[in-house]
Subunit: 202 residues, 3 copies
C-alpha cells in the first residue's frame, strides 16, 4: 500500500468517525449513523464534483470505502467507546489535519484540471476540505461548527491552497513537490493553530 493510499484511508475514517460521534450524540439509529458518517467523509468532495460536473464520483469508483463505513456503522457504539480508550484526542487531531491538507490540495488540483480560475480553485480546495463537516452539521440540525468556532481551520486550507497555486505559477518546482509541500504546510499550520489555540478575531 502506498503512502498516499494510507493517508487517504485514515483521512476518510477520521471524517466518518466525526459523523459517528455527531449522529450518536443526536441519538440517531443505524440509518442515520451510516448516512451522517458517509456525508461527513465524502460530502466535501461530492459537492466539489457536482459544482465542477465531474463524474464518476470518488466513492462510486471506490465502493469499498462505502462498504467499510457501512460495516463500521453497524458497530459504531462499541467502536466509539473502544477508540476513546485507545486513541487520544491528539492523534485524532493529527489525522484530521493530515486529511485536511491532502483533500484540500486534491480539491485545488481537480479544479485546475477543470480549468477553474485561481480564486475559484482555491475555494474548491477549501470546499473539499470542510464541506463534509458542514453538510454533516446541517443534516444534524446544527449551525456548522466550522462557521462559528472561530478556529482558523478553513483559513489554513485556504493559505495552503494559495501556496500550491503560487508555486505552480511562479516557481519551477515539480508538480509533486508543490502538492506535497502545500499539503504538509496546511497540516502543520492546522496543528500549530490547534496547539496554541489560536482564534480568529470576529
Amino acid at each position: 500500500m502506498t503512502l498516499i493510499k494510507f493517508i487517504e484511508i485514515v483521512a476518510i475514517l477520521v471524517g466518518a468517525f466525526s459523523g459517528f460521534i455527531e449522529a450518536r450524540r443526536k441519538r440517531m439509529d443505524l440509518v442515520g449513523v451510516f448516512t451522517v458518517a458517509f456525508i461527513a467523509a465524502f460530502g466535501g468532495g461530492t459537492l466539489r464534483d457536482i459544482l465542477l460536473d465531474r463524474r464518476p464520483l470518488f466513492w462510486v469508483t471506490h465502493q469499498e470505502y462505502a462498504i467499510a463505513i457501512f460495516v463500521l456503522a453497524l458497530i459504531a457504539s462499541p467502536l466509539i467507546r473502544t477508540l476513546r480508550h485507545i486513541v487520544s484526542e491528539r492523534l485524532i487531531v493529527i489525522a484530521d489535519a493530515v486529511g485536511l491538507g491532502l483533500f484540500s490540495i486534491a480539491g485545488v488540483s481537480a479544479a485546475l484540471d477543470a480549468n477553474m480560475p485561481l480564486f475559484i480553485a482555491s475555494m474548491m480546495g477549501v470546499i473539499t476540505g470542510i464541506f463534509g463537516g458542514v453538510l454533516r452539521d446541517i443534516v444534524c440540525n446544527e449551525v456548522p461548527m466550522v462557521f462559528r468556532d472561530g478556529k482558523p481551520y478553513a483559513i489554513c486550507a485556504f493559505l495552503g491552497n494559495w501556496m500550491f497555486l503560487l508555486m505552480g505559477l511562479y516557481t519551477s518546482v515539480s508538480h509533486d513537490f508543490a502538492l506535497w509541500s502545500s499539503a504538509l504546510f496546511i497540516s502543520v499550520l492546522r496543528l500549530i493553530t490547534w496547539k496554541f489555540d489560536i482564534q480568529m478575531g470576529r
Copy 2:
C-alpha cells in the same frame, strides 16, 4: 392508465402530502407548502439523478406532477382536514409502503443503467426511496425522522434492493419479475415491520 402509472401517481401524492402536513405544522405559507411538498415528492429521485448525472429530471419531463402539487398546495389546509376524515392512517402507510418499494427498485435500476457498482446501486435505491423525506425535514429545520425513529424503513428498501441485485446476478428470472417481486418484497416487509412495530436496536 397502466398499473405502474397509477402506483406512481399515488406514491408521488403520498410524498407530497407528507410535505403538506410538515409544512403546515411549521406554519408555512403557500410558497413553503408547495416547495416542501415538491421536495418531499421528488427530492430523492432528484438527488439520485444529480449524483448519477442523469438528465432530464423526472419532474421536468412530467411537469403535470409539479402542476398538480401546485394546485393541491393552494387548497392544502382544507385538503388535509378532509383527507383526515376519509383516509385512515392505515391507507396512508400502505400507499407509502408501495411507493417505497417502487421508487427504491426504480432507483437501483437507474443506477445499474449508469454502470454503478452493486453496493452503490443499492445505496442509490435507498436514496431514491428516503431522501425526499430527509430533504423535507432539513428544509423544515428538523433532524430527519428516518435517521432517528429507529424504524427499519430504509433497511426494508436496502434488503429489497439486494434481493433485486442478487436475482439479476444469480438467477435467470426475467428483469420484470425481479423488479416487481423485489418492490413487492420491500412493501410487504415495510408493512410487517409497521404492523408489529419492529424497532432496530441502537
Copy 3:
C-alpha cells in the same frame, strides 16, 4: 458599465449583505460570514444550473464577484454598521426588488434555453430568485423566511415569470421588451406589496 451590469452588481451585493447580516446574527466567524454571503448571493442561480446541468457556473466565469464578497467579508462588521447609518431600509428593499425581477427572468430565460416546459421554466425562475435566501437560512439553521413570512415575495416572481412566458407565446413584442417589462413588473409588484404590507392568506 452597462445598466444591466450595474443592476447585476447591486443585486449580488444585496444578496451578499443579507448573508453578512444573518451570519453575524448567528455569531459566525469570517469563514461562516463569507460562505453564508456567497450562498445567499449565488445559491439560487447555482441550484438552477445544477438542476439544468448548465456549466460553467456564473460565479466561476465571474470570479471577481467571489473575490469582492471575500474582501467585503473581511470588513463585514464595520461595513454593516456603516451601511445601517447611510443606507435606509427603503433603499435595500428597492435594490432587492430590482434584483428579484432581474434574476427571476434571467432564470426563466436560462430554463427556456435548456428546453424546459413552461411550468418548469416558471419554477426555475422562482428558484433563481429565492433559493439564495432559502439556502442561506438552511445553513444558518432557520426555517427559510420566504416559506413562512406570508409575504408574496416568490408569488411576485412567479406572476412576472408567467407574464414573460405568455408575452413570448402570444404576442409579437421583441424578446428584450418582454424580458425588461417582466422584470420591471416583478420589481414594481414586489414594492407595491411591500409598501402596503400585503399578506397572503394561509
